[in-house]
């Protein structure tokens, strides 16, 4: 909690919130209590029809709860004027919901306009928001939504939701209707925005992989929005609370876990015998025999990995720059363990790890990966047993 000062979001608290639609016997949302921490992305994930949308829409009172209380930043949301409340809560939905007869700029201006900002300030804000979501204002400002791609429309939707700088952002399957590549980009973009903005984001999806990628915390919801598990993605992957969660996490939980960890988080070791490219093959061979090594890693002047050489190749080689085989896939300390595993498999059991400037820092092998997963399991099991 060292960095709370940059957080612009506020905490949202739901207490015993229930929604019963008129005419249906069972409530759509039954007695939900949860705390959504300030400045975090919380994902509501669960099967279709389980009540995710209903739960989210009660936060900005597009749906009025039948009972229970909701506070936003300590203020009782149910006692505010609903329109005033919604101008302070950003809202982005699937297919963006842009007004087709408004230009991009007019769409983004709506909430600042409702709040009575001056024209000049609104115009500046539109440009600022368009830059923020990666759309060139000069080019796109006066376009109509119809003239944009699906991904661009979604960006405008996010810009519109953020235009009045609300502390809270509600997003209901916002990337559900775009192709997988665009969706990936939009997800990356959202994470990038969030590192600066630090809003409280409530994000609804039925895609568990999306939840794992974006969430600081994930609430896995069952029927009637009952909370099956509410925890970090790591904890849910390592130790699903029940069969329903396990089913939802689906096959490949371990592989998904690997996408959450970075190489810098695990113990890679500096175990390779390295040699500068200008060392003579004879001296290197001598060193290798002394240390009983069969392979050496040749580095350039800036210590970036170049080639693997076998000790037997050295007796005939005239220089290290041409001997052996080039290094294939390497992984950086920033890479996910998932990417590292890919490289390890491609390279035959181990991969070179490089630092931020591409320099050799160590080696990672398959047992490092398996040990990490084992350790995580044990940690989370111990954690849940203790709690």
């Amino acid at each position: 909690m060292a960095d709370t000062e940059n957080v612009s979001g506020v905490e949202i608290q739901l207490d015993n919130v229930t929604k019963r639609y008129p005419g249906s016997r069972e409530p759509a949302v039954r007695d939900v209590t949860m705390t959504i921490p300030a400045g975090k992305i919380v994902i509501l994930v669960g099967p279709s029809g389980c009540g995710k949308t209903t739960t989210m829409r009660m936060i900005n009172r597009l749906i009025e709860p039948s009972s229970g209380t909701i506070t936003i930043g300590g203020e009782d949301a149910l006692r505010l004027n609903a329109d005033t409340l919604r101008r302070k809560v950003g809202y982005a939905i699937q297919q963006a919901g842009l007004f087709p007869h408004f230009t991009v700029a007019q769409n983004i201006s709506v909430v600042p306009g409702l709040l009575g900002w001056e024209r000049g300030r609104i115009n500046d804000r539109v440009d600022e928001m368009m830059d923020l979501v990666g759309l060139d204002p000069a080019q796109y400002r006066d376009r109509f939504p119809r003239q944009l791609s699906g991904g661009q429309q979604q960006r405008v939707g996010v810009a519109r939701a953020l235009a009045a700088d609300p502390p809270v952002l509600l997003m209901d399957e916002p990337f559900g209707a775009v192709d997988p590549i665009t969706r990936g980009n939009l997800q990356d973009e959202l994470l990038r925005l969030q590192t600066d903005l630090r809003k409280t984001i409530v994000f609804v999806t039925h895609d568990f992989d999306e939840a794992v990628k974006l969430g600081d915390k994930i609430a896995v919801l069952g029927d009637q929005s009952t909370i099956q598990q509410y925890d970090t993605p790591e904890a849910i992957l390592a130790n699903p609370a029940n069969d329903m969660v396990a089913g939802f996490v689906g096959a490949g939980a371990s592989l998904k876990q690997l996408t959450l960890l970075r190489v810098r988080d695990v113990d890679y070791e500096d175990i390779a015998l390295t040699a500068p490219a200008d060392e003579s093959p004879a001296t290197l061979r001598q060193r290798m025999i002394e240390q009983n090594r069969t392979y050496a890693l040749v580095l350039d002047q800036r210590r970036r990995p170049l080639r693997w050489v076998h000790v037997r190749a050295l007796s005939t080689a005239s220089s290290l720059t041409g001997a052996g085989t080039p290094v294939g896939d390497s992984v950086s300390t920033q890479s996910t363990l998932h990417d590292a595993l890919e490289a390890i498999l491609a390279e035959g059991g181990h991969a070179v790890v490089t630092g931020t400037r591409g320099e050799y820092v160590g080696m990672i092998d398959i047992t490092t990966v398996t040990d990490t997963i084992k350790q995580l399991r044990e940690e989370h099991e111990a954690g849940s047993a203790a709690s």
Binding site: N60, G90, I93, L98, F99, H101, L114, P145, R146
Partner: protein, 259 residues
Amino acid sequence: MSSTTKPQGFSTESGSRRADRIRLLAQPAAVVVLVGAVLVWAFTRNNDAIEAESINAGVLLTKTGEHLLITAVVAAIVTGIAVPLGVLLTRSWARPVAPLFIAIANIGQAAPALGVLVLFFLWTEWEGLWCAALPIAFYSLLPVLRNTITGIESVDPALVDAGRGIGMSSSGVLFRIELPLAVPLVLAGLRTALVLAVGTATLAFFVNGGGLGELVDTGYKLNRVPVLVVGAVLAVGLALIVDWIGAVLEEYLGPKGLA
């Protein structure tokens, strides 16, 4: 996006945009040629005294003016009643009674126009402009009422949801989102209504409302074919011009960014 699908309802749009463009130019030209030719023929032939009493600039202008006035009054009444009523009937609290009003408007249109006109005359004992305009307006209400309702109901609910979700009031959503997006259908309905009104206004002379019907009537009763032809051709020309004005309005008043 589902908002892009063409909503159902009365629509006078036909064919491609290109065909629309051509029609936009050709229609008034055809009217000018047709009406011009008939007028030239009527004024240059040897008219007898009875014919000359009708076929002169003063009478023709008056009758056309009366006809236009009825049409304009009808347009004002229809717009003033059917559009707000249509809007009201799409509010969630009024949905249950909407079919009732549609049914009434349906009856209005299904009943013979002349019958409605005469019954209204007998009932109120009024005559003249208002006696003609009110029943004709009732008769022409349906297309606008129905198209206003259809137009608003065919606005993608996600847009209304988005509007409310970002903090627009319900009237804000109505005036900035729902109505502008319904404008094309409302205009199409109005255009249909006005063409109906111009046609029906030829019956206004029954209640002393004047209009081009009077020429037709005179020509028929006094057995003067030229008078009858001039009256009929002017009425047709007027209907085509009103239809054309409707098309122009649809072209230029609709919301931008939809096509």
